[in-house]
C-alpha cells in the first residue's frame, strides 16, 4: 500500500531529476533557435558543476557557487562561440571539442575535492502550499533551482513568441543571410544566444553538484548534456514540449529506480535504459505529429558575411 507521503516524495524527486535536464536544454534551445548547434552542453554542464562545487565549498555560499558555475558555463561557451561563430568553423566539431575540453577541465578543477560533501541547497518552503497532499512537496517544496527552471521556461517561451528580441533571434536562426540583409547583427545575436546556453548549462551543473547530488565526482553529469541536446531536437524546438520531455525523462528514471527496488526480475540494465527509450519514443511521436515544422533552417550552418 503506497501512502500519499511516499507518492509525494517520489513526485518531488521526479521534479528534481527533471530540473537539470530542463535547465540545460532550455539554454541549448535558445542557442539552436538562433542557428547555432552547440554540442558542448555536456562540457559546459560539468565545468559548471565543478566550478560551482569548488566555489561553494571554499566560500560556504551556495549563491556564490551558483553564480560561479554560470560564469564558468558562459566562459566555455565563449570558446565555442569564438570558433564556431567568430571563425565560422564546423559547429559539430567545435561543439565536440568544447565538451572534451570541459570534461578535462572539470576533472582538473575538482581533483582535490573527490570524496568531500556539501549540504544540499535548502528547500524553500511556501507556507500553506507545501503541506498540500501529494503534490505539495513536488510543486512547492523544492530548492531555488527548480523554481528558477520554471521561471526560465516561461521567460524563454514568452520572449521567443512575443517579443521583438525573440522574433529577431528566430529570424537569425531561420535565414541568417536575410537577417543580415535586413541589418540584424547575426553574429552578435548568435554569440549572445550561445552565452545564454552556457549560463543555463552552468546552472544545470550547479543544480547537480549543489542540490541534486551535493558532492563532486568527475563523471557526475553522466551524459545528461547529451540527453538535453536530444530533448531539444525531439521537442521540435518548442519550450513547452521541452518541459514535457524533461519531466517524462525525470519521471521514468525515478520510477525505474523504484521498480528495481521491488525486485521484479527485470534485468536492471533494461530498466536503466527505460528513461532513454521512453523519452525517445514519446518525442519521436510528438515530432512525427508535428512534421514539417521544427528545425531552424540555418541551424548548424556557419555564417560568413560577404565583404
Amino acid at each position: 500500500m503506497l501512502d500519499a507521503a511516499i507518492i509525494g516524495a517520489v513526485l518531488a524527486s521526479v521534479v528534481a531529476a527533471a530540473t537539470t535536464l530542463l535547465l540545460a536544454s532550455l539554454g541549448e534551445l535558445v542557442a539552436e533557435r538562433a542557428g547555432t548547434l552547440n554540442l558542448g552542453v555536456e562540457g559546459m554542464m560539468i565545468v559548471g558543476a565543478a566550478v560551482g562545487y569548488v566555489t561553494a565549498y571554499g566560500s560556504g555560499s551556495l549563491l556564490l557557487g551558483t553564480l560561479a558555475a554560470m560564469l564558468a558555463g558562459v566562459t566555455l561557451s565563449l570558446v565555442f562561440a569564438g570558433l564556431a561563430i567568430g571563425l565560422a568553423t564546423n559547429q559539430v566539431a567545435s561543439g565536440l571539442a568544447t565538451t572534451i575540453l570541459g570534461l578535462g577541465l572539470a576533472g582538473l578543477i575538482g581533483s582535490g575535492f573527490v570524496g568531500t560533501q556539501l549540504e544540499a541547497a535548502p528547500v524553500l518552503h511556501i507556507p500553506g502550499l507545501t503541506e498540500l497532499p501529494i503534490v505539495g512537496r513536488a510543486l512547492f517544496g523544492q530548492d531555488a533551482f527548480v523554481y528558477a527552471s520554471i521561471f526560465l521556461l516561461v521567460a524563454v517561451a514568452y520572449v521567443l513568441a512575443r517579443t521583438r528580441i525573440g522574433l529577431v533571434l528566430r529570424a537569425v536562426g531561420e535565414n541568417h543571410a536575410a537577417a543580415h540583409a535586413l541589418g540584424h547583427p547575426v553574429r552578435r545575436i548568435r554569440t549572445l544566444a550561445v552565452m545564454f546556453g552556457g549560463a543555463c548549462a552552468g546552472l544545470a551543473g550547479a543544480h547537480l553538484s549543489l542540490a541534486y547530488t551535493p558532492f563532486w565526482a568527475s563523471d557526475m553529469t553522466a551524459g545528461r548534456g547529451w540527453i538535453a541536446l536530444a530533448l531539444v531536437v525531439f521537442s521540435a524546438w518548442r519550450p513547452l514540449w521541452l518541459l514535457a520531455g524533461a519531466y517524462l525523462f525525470g519521471a521514468v528514471s525515478i520510477l525505474q529506480l523504484h521498480v528495481q527496488g521491488f525486485g521484479l526480475g527485470i534485468p536492471s540494465q533494461l530498466l536503466s535504459a527505460l528513461p532513454y527509450l521512453a523519452t525517445i519514443i514519446a518525442l519521436v511521436v510528438i515530432s512525427a505529429l508535428k512534421h514539417g515544422q521544427g528545425a531552424p533552417a540555418s541551424l548548424g550552418v556557419p555564417f560568413v558575411p560577404d565583404r
Binding site: 522574433l167 529570424a171 535586413l182 540584424h184
Partner: protein, 516 residues
C-alpha cells in the same frame, strides 16, 4: 555629356565607386544618379556588376573607393540598417524572407523599433489597398507563390517609407500578368515623388517603364541614356558591347526517324502547382529542334523529370526513345539509349556544387562504358573528356579544376551542355538552356544545339524565353496547366498565337488535335 554643368538634384548618387574581390574588379569607377520621381533603369548582363553596385548602395558592401551622395551630401552606409534609416529600401532578387514566419512577422523584422503585430497588420492592409499589392498579413511566407513573396518584400520596404526603392531583377520571377501589376505599382510610387531603381536585363521592360537608364558592362559604367529614345538594338549593343549574333537557322534539311515519341503521357500531381501532366503527345525526329514554350510552373518541370527518367511512369509505351519503350527506365538506362538531359537548375541538379568539374563530368558519363569500366574510374579518359569539354565549349574558370560552384552561370551552363553533347547523343532534352546566361554564351549554346540537330540529333528545348524559341526552334508547342499543344512549325505561327496558348486558349483551340 554636355549638360553636366547643371544637373537636376539627385536623390541618391554613386560617384566612381570601385569594388574589388581579390583580382576581380566587380565595379570599376561606376557612377549612377537617381532623381526623385523617376524610374531609373540599371541595365546590364549577368556579371556586369549590377548586384555589386546595389549592395554598395544599401550598405551590404563597402566600396574600396569612390563615394555615395544622398541629396548631394556625402554619406557612408556601414550596414543595411543605416541605409534603410535614410530611406533606401531594397527588394532583392533572392528574397530576404523567413519561410517559417508569417507575413506580418517578416515585415516587423524589416522595420526598426517594436510595434504590436496587430497594428502592423493594419498598416500592411492599408499599404496593400493604396498600391494594389495583394498580401494577407497572417499567412506563412513558406506557403506563398513567388509573386506573393515579392509583394511581401515590397510592402516591407514601403512601410519603412523609403524615398528610393531598389528593385533587383524584379520581373525575372513573375508571370507577364504579375509584371504588369508590378509596373502599375512602380508608376504609383514615382508619382508620389519616390525614386525607383529598376534593375533588369530585359530591354522591353526598361523601354516601357523607365525614364532613364544607366548601362553597365564588365563592371564599368558605359552610358546613361534615355531608353525611350533608344532602339531595342542600340540598347542591346550598349549592354553587350557588340551586335548580338543571331543563331543561323539551318536550311531545311531532311528529318530522320523519330527519336522521341510521347504518347498519352499522364502524370498525377502531388498537389503543388504545375506538377500534373495530362495526355501529352509529342514526336521529335532526328534533325529537328522542338521548343516548348510556356509560363513557369505549368508542368514543364514535371515533363522534364518524366522525360529524363527522374520520375518513371507505369505505361512503358508512353515514352519511346529510338524505338525502345522507356517509360519505366531511370536516367542511366535512358542515357544508355543515347539520350542526354540538361535540367533547368545548373547548380545542385545538373552539377554538384562542391565537386570539382572533372568529377562532375562523371555524373552523366559513368554509364557510357568509356570512362568507368568494371566499376573503376579511369583517370586519363576522364581528364581527356574534361579537357575536351572545356576547350570545345569555351568554359572559362580560374584554377585547374575548380568546384562547380566557382563557375559563373554562363560558363557552368556551357560545361553542362558540353558534357551532354560530347556523349554523342541522338536525343537531347534541355530545360531552360540559356536562363540567366549572358548573351554571348546564350548565342553559343543555341548555335551548338542547332549544329547538333543538323548532324542528326533530335533536340527538345523547354524555355520560358519565347524570343529564343522563335529564333532557333523548328517547331513550337505550348505548355499550359499540364497540357501540351500540337507543335507548330515556327513559320506558321506567331507571337500572338503562342501568347494566347500560354494563357490557356488551347482548351478551346486545341481540342481537335488532342482527340486521339
Amino acid at each position: 555629356m554636355g549638360e553636366t554643368s547643371h544637373r537636376p538634384k539627385s536623390l541618391l548618387e554613386a560617384v566612381e565607386l570601385t569594388k574589388r574581390f581579390g583580382s576581380l574588379v566587380a565595379n570599376d569607377r561606376v557612377s549612377l544618379a537617381i532623381r526623385a520621381g523617376e524610374t531609373h533603369a540599371l541595365l546590364g548582363e549577368n556579371g556586369a556588376g549590377k548586384s555589386t553596385l546595389v549592395k554598395m548602395l544599401c550598405g551590404l558592401l563597402q566600396p574600396d573607393s569612390g563615394e555615395l551622395l544622398y541629396e548631394g551630401v556625402p554619406v557612408v552606409f556601414p550596414d543595411p540598417a543605416s541605409s534603410r534609416a535614410r530611406g533606401v529600401g531594397v527588394v532583392f532578387q533572392h528574397f530576404a524572407l523567413f519561410d517559417a514566419m508569417t507575413v506580418v512577422e517578416n515585415v516587423a523584422l524589416g522595420l526598426p523599433g517594436h510595434q504590436p503585430l496587430s497594428v502592423l497588420a493594419a498598416r500592411i492592409d492599408a499599404c496593400v489597398h493604396r498600391y494594389g499589392l495583394e498580401v494577407e498579413p497572417y499567412r506563412r511566407v513558406g506557403e506563398l507563390s513567388v509573386g506573393e513573396r515579392q509583394r511581401v518584400e515590397i510592402v516591407r520596404c514601403l512601410l519603412g517609407d523609403p524615398r528610393v526603392l531598389i528593385l533587383d531583377e524584379p520581373t525575372s520571377v513573375l508571370t507577364p500578368d504579375e509584371s504588369e501589376n508590378l509596373f502599375r505599382t512602380v508608376d504609383l510610387l514615382t508619382a508620389e515623388g519616390r525614386a525607383v531603381l529598376f534593375i533588369s536585363h530585359k530591354l522591353d521592360e526598361v523601354r516601357r517603364l523607365c525614364h532613364r537608364a544607366t548601362v553597365l558592362r564588365g563592371g564599368r559604367f558605359i552610358a546613361e541614356v534615355d531608353p525611350q529614345q533608344e532602339s531595342f538594338a542600340s540598347l542591346a549593343r550598349l549592354m553587350v558591347g557588340a551586335d548580338v549574333p543571331r543563331t543561323p537557322r539551318a536550311a531545311t534539311h531532311a528529318l530522320g526517324e523519330p527519336r522521341l515519341l510521347v504518347r498519352h503521357l499522364n502524370l498525377a500531381g502531388d498537389g503543388s502547382r504545375g506538377s500534373a501532366l495530362h495526355d501529352i503527345n509529342l514526336e521529335i525526329r532526328a534533325g529537328e529542334i522542338v521548343g516548348i514554350a510556356g509560363v513557369a510552373g505549368n508542368g514543364q518541370t514535371a515533363l522534364f523529370d518524366v522525360l529524363s527518367g527522374e520520375r518513371t511512369v507505369q505505361d512503358r509505351e508512353s515514352i519511346v526513345i529510338s524505338t525502345v519503350p522507356a517509360g519505366g527506365f531511370g536516367p542511366t538506362e535512358r542515357r544508355a539509349l543515347r539520350a542526354g538531359f540538361v535540367p533547368e537548375e545548373r547548380l545542385g541538379h545538373a552539377a554538384a556544387p562542391d565537386l570539382c568539374l572533372s568529377d562532375n563530368v562523371l555524373l552523366t558519363t559513368h554509364g557510357d562504358g568509356q570512362i568507368v569500366t568494371a566499376d573503376i574510374i579511369r583517370r586519363s579518359p576522364l581528364f581527356a573528356r574534361f579537357k575536351q569539354i572545356v576547350k570545345g565549349f569555351d568554359v572559362r574558370f580560374g584554377g585547374k579544376d575548380p568546384k562547380a560552384r566557382r563557375l559563373s552561370g554562363g560558363n557552368l551552363q556551357k560545361f553542362v551542355i558540353g558534357r551532354e553533347v560530347l556523349r554523342d547523343p541522338v536525343l537531347i532534352v534541355v530545360d531552360q538552356p540559356t536562363w540567366g546566361v549572358d548573351a554571348s554564351a546564350a548565342a553559343f549554346i543555341r548555335t551548338t544545339l542547332r549544329q547538333r540537330a543538323a548532324e542528326g540529333c533530335a533536340v527538345l528545348v523547354v524555355s520560358q524565353d519565347l524570343d529564343e524559341l522563335l529564333e532557333f526552334a523548328d517547331r513550337i508547342a505550348v505548355m499550359s496547366e499540364g497540357r501540351l499543344t500540337e507543335p507548330v512549325p515556327v513559320e506558321e505561327t506567331s507571337r500572338e498565337a503562342i501568347g494566347l496558348a500560354m494563357g490557356g486558349a488551347h482548351r478551346a483551340a486545341g481540342e481537335g488535335s488532342h482527340a486521339a
